[in-house]
Symmetry: D2
Subunit: 132 residues, 4 copies
C-alpha cells in the first residue's frame, strides 16, 4: 500500500463549503507517485507508459478544509497489460472518498504492451501483502 | 440535452502531452450549469441542494489542446431523491470521454429529500426528448 | 484585443463564497489562446516558444459564480525578445480583476530569441489599434 | 517563517513539460495554512477575514515533476489592516519561483478592519525573527 498525506487547500474547497467533487482525482493521482516510480525510477514523464482507461469516485462523507487527509493506494489486480488500483481518502479516521482506477500499460507507440516481469513481480508481492 | 462548448487550456494539459485525466470532472461539472439552474434559477450556491454521490469517467481517446470540445449532458434517470446523468466530451467529431454521475437531492439539513414535482416534470420531459 | 467569454465553474469557487484567488491565472492563460496562435498557427505545444517570466494579479471586486466573465487581453508592449500583456476580467460590466504578464520568447534551446518580424508586425499593429 | 513541503503532481505539469505557470498561486496559498491558523485557530473558513488584494509571481527557473518543493512564507510587513507576505518555492536547493501577496484584513461586512492586537504581536515577533 502506498500512503500519502495531503493537506486540503482553500483552493480545493467550493462555495458549498467542502472539498469540491472534482478534487479527489488529483489527490488520488498524487497518491500514485511511488507506484509510478516502480515504472519510472527517475520519475521522468517522457514516453509515459501508463494511460488511465477508467476511474470511479464514490463519496461517503464530506471532506473538509483544515485537517490532513491520508490517501491510500492499493494494487487490486494486475492483468497482462493493465492494472487496477483501489484508493481511499481518509479524514478524521474514517473513509470519506473511495476510488477505483484502471490503467493500461503502453509502449512508445501508445499501444498496450505487457507490464515488464520485474515490475509485475514487485507489484504482485505488494498485492499479497495488502491482502494478508 | 445540455450542450456546452469548452476550449481546452494549456493548464489542462500535462507533461504526457494531452489533457490530464483529472480535468474531465471539472468540464462535466461545467456542463451541468444549466441543469443546476433548474434547481436554482438565480444560480446561487447557498444551501446547495445537489450532492455528488458517485461518478465514473471512461477514456476512449486522447483529448488534446488546440480544438474546442463539446460537453453533452443528458438526464439518464430520475429517482425520488436522486438523479443520474450521462455525459460525453466530443472532440473532432468523436467521443473522447464519457461520464456517469449520480446526484442526491438534499435539503438544508443535508439529508436526502424528494426532487420537487415541477423540477421532476421538466427533467422527465427532457429525458423523453433525448430518447425519441 | 483578444476577447474570451468564460463561464465560472462551481469548482472555481471556494468556501469563502467567491471565485478563489488562484483561478484568474488560468482564465488569463485561456484568454491568450488566440495570441498564442500568432506564434503557433497549428496550436501545437511542442517546443513551445513563450515562457512566463512574471505576472501580477490585482483584485478590485469579487468575481462570483453564476454569470459569465469576459477576459480581455491586450498587447501592452513588445521588446526584442519579450512581450507584455495587460489583461482584465470583466463581470457585470465592471472590471473585477486585472493582470499584467511578461513573456519571454525562447528558441528550442530555451534561451531568449528575437520575436520573428512577421509576428512582431502583426502584434504591433494590434497594439496600435488598442491605443487609438 | 512558515515552511511547507509539497510534492508536484502530474496534474500540475503541462504539455510544455514543466509545472504550469498557473500552479504556484495554489502552492503559495497552501503554504499560508499555518499563517491562516493565526487568524483562525479552528481552521474554519466561515466569515473568512483575509482577502487577497494583489499578488505577483516571478519565475526564475523551471519547476519540474519528480522532486519535492519547499514553500517558504515570510511576513514582510504588517499594516493597520493589511499584510504583505514574501514567498518562495525552492526545488533542488535553489529558488525557482518567488511571490509577493498583499492581504487585507476584513470584518463580517467585508470592509477593512484592523488586525487584532494579539495577532499583530505574534506576526511582528515572527517578522523580526526572520530578519535577524
Amino acid at each position: 500500500m502506498y500512503t500519502t498525506i495531503i493537506a486540503p487547500r482553500v483552493s480545493d474547497t467550493d462555495a458549498v463549503g467542502h472539498i469540491n467533487n472534482t478534487v479527489p482525482p488529483a489527490w488520488f493521482e498524487a497518491g500514485r507517485a511511488d507506484l509510478f516510480a516502480e515504472f519510472r525510477p527517475d520519475r521522468s514523464l517522457e514516453n509515459w507508459p501508463l494511460i488511465v482507461k477508467k476511474y470511479t469516485i464514490t463519496f461517503d462523507h464530506e471532506t473538509v478544509y483544515g485537517r490532513d487527509v491520508t490517501v491510500e493506494c492499493r494494487v487490486a489486480s494486475i492483468g497482462r497489460t493493465s492494472l487496477v488500483l483501489h484508493e481511499t481518502i481518509v479524514q478524521d479516521g474514517r473513509v470519506s472518498v473511495t476510488g477505483e482506477v484502471v490503467y493500461v500499460h503502453v509502449g512508445e507507440d501508445r499501444r498496450p504492451t505487457p507490464i515488464p516481469a520485474d515490475i509485475r513481480e514487485r507489484l504482485t508481492s505488494q498485492l499479497e501483502e495488502d491482502h494478508v
